[in-house]
């Protein structure tokens, strides 16, 4: 505080005097009352529970979207166009969206890059490659019903063009890491029936793309990249593991001589990003990275369990339940039947894998993907390191 003594200091209003609606006039107050009245008519449900039956994409609803179309890109990749709910706040090219989709009746969440810039029709699109053992990606690519609802979260992510007015960039992509880059490029250089469209706002960009893929046919969006290259909008350096061998980041200066003048944006597997990070740090070069997938958790026997809210960390073997171990350590745990019947002991698993001791079933929570998953502590034992919100 720098107020001088001569300045009269207005007394802060006591909390009780402050009506949050005081400045908003009569209308909101009337509306609040109306809302209360409707709520009283629908208790124990909320009015929204009924409105969701008719208009799940209305303003004020939970963020959802309807799948408009599924277009194959390659044999195992498809672009999915989604009409988002009215409250979709838009996105910046390069950002991703978390999509919650019901596969075999189970809601699973995954993050996907938005592969178009903001579109005229207000729809959004994601491009999904069916990865081996990928339950969600296979569902989306091969059997996703058009017209069905998906759940969405607002677009997020820092992997965006640092300057919308232009600049010199190097984009390094590998595998499905191409998707956010395509989102940015499509925004800068839209493609019409007549070919790549030149926009005024895009003319100050100088972009080189190093695109890495296992082999040429596997490369999604290669057509788009090649078209942009042919139109002179970008410089494409395609690298295929089967013909060029694995990319060595130390070769980049020879492939892109002016790399030092460029801001590098990279998206791909952890190994590549780590190597690139190390290389750029050594040479003092700017780098912006995005990594999709945390490395898959291998289920083991037992593990270190962090109980976040209680600030307790326990080593638990694979034969002891979370409930028993936590109680043994003096924690107060909610529990009921201790047989897995009553659901009295549910806690959110934030990260990690647990094993159901009755039958060996595994349940995994991946932050940023599945979200927290509620598990029963009385029948679950850690199968690797876990984080629990308790």
């Amino acid at each position: 505080m720098t107020a001088t003594a001569s300045e009269p200091i207005a007394p802060a209003p006591a909390a009780a005097d402050v009506d949050p609606r005081a400045n908003s006039g009569r209308k909101p107050r009337l509306r609040d009352r109306a809302v209360k009245l409707v709520e009283a008519a629908t208790t124990p449900l909320m009015p929204a529970d009924y409105m969701d039956l008719f208009a799940p994409l209305r303003p004020g609803a939970e963020l959802r979207g309807r799948i408009i179309s599924v277009t194959p890109e390659t044999a195992d990749a498809a672009t999915i166009v989604i009409r988002p709910g009215a409250d979709w706040a838009g996105h910046v090219p390069g950002q991703y969206v978390r999509v919650g989709i019901d596969v075999e009746g189970v809601r699973l969440w995954r993050a996907y890059s938005l592969t178009h810039g903001p579109r005229g029709d207000k729809n959004i699109s994601i491009t999904v490659k069916a990865v081996p053992d990928g339950v969600v990606s296979h569902h989306l690519v091969h059997r996703c019903p058009v017209g069905s609802l998906v759940h969405l979260e607002p677009a997020a992510g820092e992997f965006v063009m640092p300057d919308v007015n232009g600049g010199k960039y190097l984009m390094v992509t590998a595998g499905s890491g191409v998707t956010p880059v395509i989102g940015m490029l499509r925004n800068l250089f839209p493609v019409a029936d007549s070919g790549v469209v030149s926009l005024d706002r895009s003319k100050n960009f100088d972009i080189t793309v190093i695109h890495v893929a296992p082999s040429e046919p596997d490369s999604i969006f290669l057509r788009d990249l090649q078209a942009l290259d042919a139109a002179g909008k970008i410089r494409l350096i395609a690298r295929y593991d089967d013909t060029h061998g694995f990319l060595d980041v130390n070769d980049i200066p020879s492939m892109v001589p002016d790399v030092a003048e460029r801001i590098t944006l990279a998206c791909g597997p952890g190994g590549l990003l780590d190597a690139l990070g190390e290389h750029h740090a050594r040479h003092g070069l700017p780098l912006i990275v995005e990594q999709f997938r945390t490395s898959r958790v291998e289920a083991g026997e037992g593990g270190t369990v962090v109980f976040e809210k209680s600030d307790v960390t326990l080593e638990i073997d694979g034969a002891t339940t979370l409930l028993d171990a936590a109680e043994e350590a003096g924690m107060l745990m909610r529990s009921g039947c201790r047989m897995g019947l009553c659901m009295g002991c549910l806690v959110p698993l934030e990260e990690g894998t647990v094993r159901d001791l009755r039958n060996g079933d595994l349940t995994t929570a991946v932050p940023g993907e599945s979200g927290a998953v509620k598990i029963q502590t009385c029948i679950s034992s850690p199968a690797g390191p876990c984080r629990i919100s308790k």
Binding site: T43, P44, E104, G105, L108
Partner: protein, 420 residues
């Protein structure tokens, strides 16, 4: 073995320890098979039921806006009653069991669901899921046996107040949702205690129930009748809500009575819950402590599939729409091990439960020793038992017991004579 029977024939005397272990393994396998095959169809089922119930409630309440016209009143009241029953039984009860938790839909999850019942979900999950389902039919442990207000087993000591239990049971049926709320709070027991001796959080729980009662009353008897003022149907709407709540109460009470009260359902003693109750033993207790209602698919849905009470008690967390297919396998298992699979249509099952309520409202041996001829004398004896002190009761009970013993001996003798 943990199950002790007070009957002449122990229904599981023929099972060895290995048999019981094998039954446990077989039931575990059935459970796993269903758990592994849960999927899209099941998810679609519960979503369909929930949507149906919501449309039905809206439509019924809409029709009731014009309930001044008798056909609208009837249509709306029937619709609202069915909707409330669906909401409580097939949806609320089963969601709160965690039967749909596997879908990971936060809106259809045991940890978030709140039902149209004055007992809060949280309190009910404790008294029902934890206490009742773990200690099924153990006298003194499972308060669902008689809800603490009724005598449901010969082994429970008879007190004069039990004479009115049929009336009690009927009143409880009419106000069932309030009865359940009081029961979840253990209201009787706790109100008797001085304030400082009541369990921690009791006042808080009472407050929650009061809030729910206030909200539900406001909805059913103020808001919706208020909306009907426009058409002059306020009183009719209020009456329709009252009737719908009553119908729902009567129906849920009847269905629930059929689950554990009918004649032939076994009850168990506290001592049986020794520390070594194996998984198989636990399963056996659920199998013999429950009774099914047979009937159409509509009947199963309207009972929340609690018509498959035996299957529900074996696997309370499996989705309700799968109990019908589980029943086939479970019934085969009962037959294989020569166990009594207690299943009757609704009416005989309800009759049987009520019969038991009446029978046990009287002292042990009373009905057995009463004939038309000695009725006046017996009624005199009953009056003495109701009004007399502890000693009189004990003496008269001994008299009744002796009479029963003599009668049984006589029957046994005549059997021998006939056989000879």
């Amino acid at each position: 073995m943990t199950v002790i029977q007070n009957k002449d024939a122990n229904p599981i005397a023929h099972l060895s320890k290995e048999d019981i272990a094998e039954i446990g393994r077989k039931l575990d396998a059935i459970r796993q098979e269903v758990a592994d095959s849960r999927g899209e169809k099941d998810a679609a089922y519960i979503r369909r039921v929930i949507a149906t119930q919501r449309y039905l409630e809206m439509a019924s309440r809409g029709v009731l806006l014009f309930s001044k016209f008798p056909p609208a009143w009837i249509l709306g009241t029937v619709g609202l009653s069915v909707s409330k029953i669906l909401e409580n039984m097939e949806i609320g009860h089963n969601v709160l069991h965690g039967q749909w938790d596997w879908m990971r839909d936060p809106k259809i999850h045991s940890s978030t669901w709140e039902w149209d019942n004055v007992t809060p979900s949280e309190a009910w999950k404790h008294s029902h899921n934890e206490v009742h389902h773990t200690y099924t039919n153990i006298v003194g442990k499972d308060n669902d046996l008689g809800y603490g207000i009724m005598r449901v087993d010969e082994d429970q000591k008879w007190y004069p107040m039990y004479i009115v239990q049929p009336a009690w049971n009927f009143i409880n049926a009419c106000f069932f949702q309030y009865g359940i709320a009081a029961y979840d709070l253990e209201l009787g027991k706790n109100l008797k205690k001085p304030k400082d001796k009541r369990p921690e959080g009791f006042a808080e729980e009472v407050k929650k129930v009061k809030t729910k009662i206030r909200k539900h009353m406001t909805r059913d008897y103020v808001i919706h009748p208020g909306l009907s003022l426009v058409t002059g149907s306020a009183l009719e709407t209020m009456a329709a809500n009252l009737v719908a709540n009553w119908v729902r109460n009567m129906w849920t009470h009847s269905v629930i009575m059929c689950g554990h009260f009918p004649e032939g359902v076994e009850t168990f003693e506290k001592e049986m819950l020794d520390e070594d109750e194996s998984r198989g033993d636990w399963y056996i207790r659920q199998m013999l402590g429950s009774a099914n209602i047979s009937g159409s698919k509509a009947m199963h849905i309207m009972t929340g599939n609690l018509s498959h009470q035996i299957e529900h008690h074996l696997f309370p967390d499996l989705p309700s729409n799968r109990y019908a297919e589980i029943r086939v396998k479970v019934k085969a298992l009962f037959e294989e091990y020569d166990l009594n699979y207690l299943e009757r249509p609704l009416v005989p099952q309800v009759y049987s439960a009520w019969h038991k309520v009446f029978r046990l409202s009287l002292p042990n041996g009373f009905t057995e020793t009463t004939t038309v001829k000695n009725l006046p004398k017996q009624l005199g004896l009953l009056t003495k038992m109701v009004t007399g002190d502890k000693r009189t009761r004990r003496a008269l009970q001994a008299h009744l017991d002796a009479k029963v013993a003599r009668k049984r001996a006589k029957v046994a003798k005549s059997d021998v004579t006939t056989a000879a």
